[in-house]
């Protein structure tokens, strides 16, 4: 029996080694330079995969990961525009459900997948992929084509890590304030302006809260995402959400928790348990104001056209802390990256250049989305769309856009902690001070690991 044990163990060990064969699982000196590790991984991957020579005129098929094809018309629209200009390139969209998007992409890339273009949905995903060498730095391509990255109004800088940029932004949504004009008219209150401080916002919200029970109209609404509260804390540019001391978040949390306790907004617990979506409450006219991202504009326009809603709505600039310029807001970027394992990198670059550039931007704007390339021409295209409220043009003009979640190698772990503590504060399980103290100690610990 003992002999049997050892033989079997040996067999199993051999199987393991055979399965791991290929070089990328050999224990190695941890002190070797990060670039060497990346290069080894790249070389190994390249060795295993047959490389076909790229010739300029051979038909090329590019694959690109995306989500929500059914409700996001621009994916295909931009692809069509590109294919029209480049008849020898075909782009295939690989759809992944948005709930699991990053998890699935991570797993695919871990397994050596060769999908050419990876859409970067959020910063933690971006950080994960670039720190593990799964997407390529684009600096050489940018330099070779003489691309001017300032057209992205600072977004390119947000995506740059240690001097290298690994994705081009094509969509840049900003946070603005939506409001229900009819409710304001009925209450005789002036519409929110393009220059409101959070205090003024708070006052208006309290004024607009009325009714009780099922007929309650809430002054405003904070969706369950922690970013809805924390965005206000980073507007002044003094801090980011990756910090060593989280007391700077106190004013905003105090305000929101007070609103919750006073019934000015729906309470977090109910929202979470009931899976309440901000679109529902705004469309059902249960809230007078809603701070939300610019992507919601398209949704509201569609709702109006399909007869789902029939009230008048407007948009204003995002409220700001006192002393900060009006029009300072937070933004989220959606970008495109090239897979390290892609076999068509040059073709992929040409495509993402188009997508993220002015031509792709026009298609995006025409479908009701805000592209990353921002100039007056594009904003005009957007504002001219039917259903976009007249004041949108001004509301969308920004003074400065700050990325809500900045690029950082440990951003995944940090976000996890932020989410957990946010939940505890908002369910009144801990006081604001306790919650922020926990954030500080836990995140400091995580960053030091």
């Amino acid at each position: 029996m003992k002999k049997y044990y050892s033989i079997s163990l040996l067999v199993i060990l051999m199987l393991i080694l055979a399965a791991c064969g290929g070089g990328d699982t050999t224990p190695t000196d941890t002190s070797s330079a990060e670039t060497q590790q990346v290069e080894t991984a790249v070389e190994t991957a390249a060795e295993e995969v047959a490389v076909e020579p790229e010739t300029a005129n051979e038909p090329v098929t590019l694959k690109m990961t995306v989500w929500d094809i059914a409700t996001t018309p621009y994916w295909q629209a931009v692809v069509d525009a590109y294919e029209a200009q480049n008849p020898d390139v075909k782009v295939e969209l690989v759809e992944i459900s948005s709930q699991e998007y990053q998890d699935k992409v991570n797993i695919m890339l871990s397994g050596g997948d060769d999908t050419d273009i990876i859409t970067v949905k959020d910063i933690p995903g971006y950080s994960a992929m670039l720190t593990r060498g799964q997407i390529v730095p684009l600096n050489s391509y940018v330099a070779a084509d003489g691309l001017d990255l300032s057209v992205y109004s600072g977004a390119a800088e947000e995506l740059t890590f240690e001097g290298s940029i690994y994705a081009l932004p094509f969509r840049s949504d900003i946070w603005i304030l939506y409001y229900n004009k009819d409710l304001f008219d009925a209450a005789g209150v002036d519409y929110p302006t393009n220059d409101m401080t959070w205090e003024q916002f708070d006052a208006i919200a309290r004024e607009m809260t009325s009714g009780s029970g099922a007929d309650t109209v809430y002054g405003t609404h904070f969706h369950t995402w922690r970013s809805t509260v924390e965005l206000g804390t980073v507007q002044d540019g003094q801090n980011t959400v990756i910090a060593t001391d989280y007391n700077f978040m106190k004013p905003m949390y105090d305000m929101v928790v007070a609103m919750q306790n006073d019934g000015t907004i729906m309470d977090y617990g109910s929202l979470k348990a009931g899976q309440v979506h901000y679109s529902g409450v705004f469309k059902n006219e249960q809230v007078a104001m809603l701070p939300m991202g610019s992507w919601f504009i398209g949704s509201l326009i569609t709702a109006k056209n399909e007869g789902e809603i029939d009230f008048n709505w407007g948009v204003a600039k995002y409220p700001h802390p006192t002393g900060v310029a009006a029009g300072t807001t937070a933004g989220t970027l959606t970008s495109l990256a090239i897979n390290t394992n892609s076999q068509n990198k040059d073709a992929a670059w040409d495509f993402i250049k188009f997508y993220s550039g002015p031509e792709g931007a026009k298609v995006l704007a025409a479908t009701g989305n805000l592209p990353a390339v921002r100039n007056t021409e594009i904003l005009d295209v957007f504002s001219a769309l039917e259903g976009v409220p007249p004041e949108a043009n001004e509301a969308l003009q920004t003074a400065a856009v700050r990325l809500e979640l900045p690029m950082h190698p440990k951003v995944g772990a940090v976000e996890q902690i932020l989410n957990e503590e946010h939940e505890l504060i908002m369910t009144n399980s801990v006081s604001v001070d306790e919650g922020l103290a926990e954030m500080t100690s836990r995140i400091t610990e995580a960053l030091n690991q």
């Binding site: 029996m1 049997y4 044990y5 079997s8 399965a19 290929g22 295993e48 989500w67 929500d68 059914a70 409700t71 690989v94 759809e95 992944i96 459900s97 948005s98 709930q99 699991e100 998890d103 699935k104 797993i107 695919m108 871990s110 397994g111 050596g112 997948d113 099922a214 009931g274 899976q275 309440v276 979506h277 679109s279 529902g280 469309k283 059902n284 992507w295 919601f296 949704s299 789902e308």
Partner: protein, 277 residues
């Protein structure tokens, strides 16, 4: 066996209790049914309206057109049938050997099977995926089949069952000159119908409801399963819960039919898995 039933009050109370409990068990299903007949924005409306004012029967039609539900249905059925069949075949063969045959390494391997039940799948999910990918099995149904057709639980269940079959039967057959294969096919297999029925239900339910497996291993739309399909109703900025509920209820039907069909064997079957002693 049976308890003697006190007539009258005792009986009525028991019925009331049972009906009450059954109502509690079925309440969530009623909610799902009710939700599936509403407009999405009313699904979570409060207070809860159990009977929707204007039942949206069209939801049940929409689920087939909004997403390729029929494809997902067919894929899930295909995977369920194949995996269940393979599991029944290999598990019963192995279970018989572990129960009735003596051979070197028997205890070692069986221990390995049991020990493996204790490890959560999440922890070896990634090495498993890398291996499958290297074999070129990513984005194929074959990957799921290979992963799920050879389960420790199936072997454990069949072995427990076979242990309870008296050895005399087998001895007599051996005396008659029957080979082990003969014994297996002519005697053991027919006797094991209850255990096989049990394993069928467990495996089928598992594969039918499996979410993580298809999520990781399937990319192409044409290969996806029902559980993945349900997620397509949840988008980045909205979710259509009415359709999700409708689709969930529809996907429950084959499983319920399967259960009702096998129920008879099922209750008998579990009794023979060694728990009688």
């Amino acid at each position: 066996m049976s308890y003697r039933f006190r007539t009258g009050l005792g009986r009525t109370l028991t019925y009331i209790l049972l009906i009450g409990l059954a109502a509690v068990m079925l309440l969530p299903f009623f909610w799902m049914l009710s939700a599936s007949l509403k407009l999405d924005k009313d699904v979570f409306g409060f207070p809860i309206q159990w009977i929707p004012e204007v039942p949206q029967w069209s939801n049940y039609a929409k689920i087939w057109t909004r997403i390729p539900f029929l494809t997902f249905f067919a894929n899930t059925a295909k995977l369920t049938v194949i995996i269940t069949f393979l599991q029944l075949l290999t598990s019963s063969l192995a279970g018989y050997a572990f129960a009735k045959l003596q051979f070197k390494g028997r205890n070692f391997f069986f221990l390995a099977y049991i020990a493996s039940i204790a490890i959560p799948w999440q922890s070896y999910m990634v090495p498993q995926f890398i291996m499958m990918r290297r074999m070129g099995l990513f984005d194929t149904h074959m990957s799921l089949i290979l992963l799920q057709a050879f389960s420790a639980f199936g072997v454990f269940l069949m072995r427990q069952f076979f242990i309870s079959i008296p050895n005399d039967l087998i001895e007599a057959a051996r005396m008659d000159g029957l080979s082990e294969y003969g014994i297996y096919f002519r005697i053991m297999l027919p006797l094991s119908k209850p255990a096989l029925a049990t394993l069928t239900i467990f495996t089928s339910v598992f594969v039918w409801n499996d979410f993580m497996g298809p999520l990781i291993y399937l990319n192409s739309e044409s290969l996806k399963t029902i559980q993945l399909g349900l997620r397509l109703f949840i988008q980045q900025y909205s979710a259509n819960y009415a359709l999700i509920m409708a689709a969930s209820l529809v996907s429950l039907i084959p499983i319920i039919v399967l259960f009702l069909a096998f129920q008879r064997f099922f209750i008998e079957g579990i009794a023979s898995t060694g728990i009688k002693g």
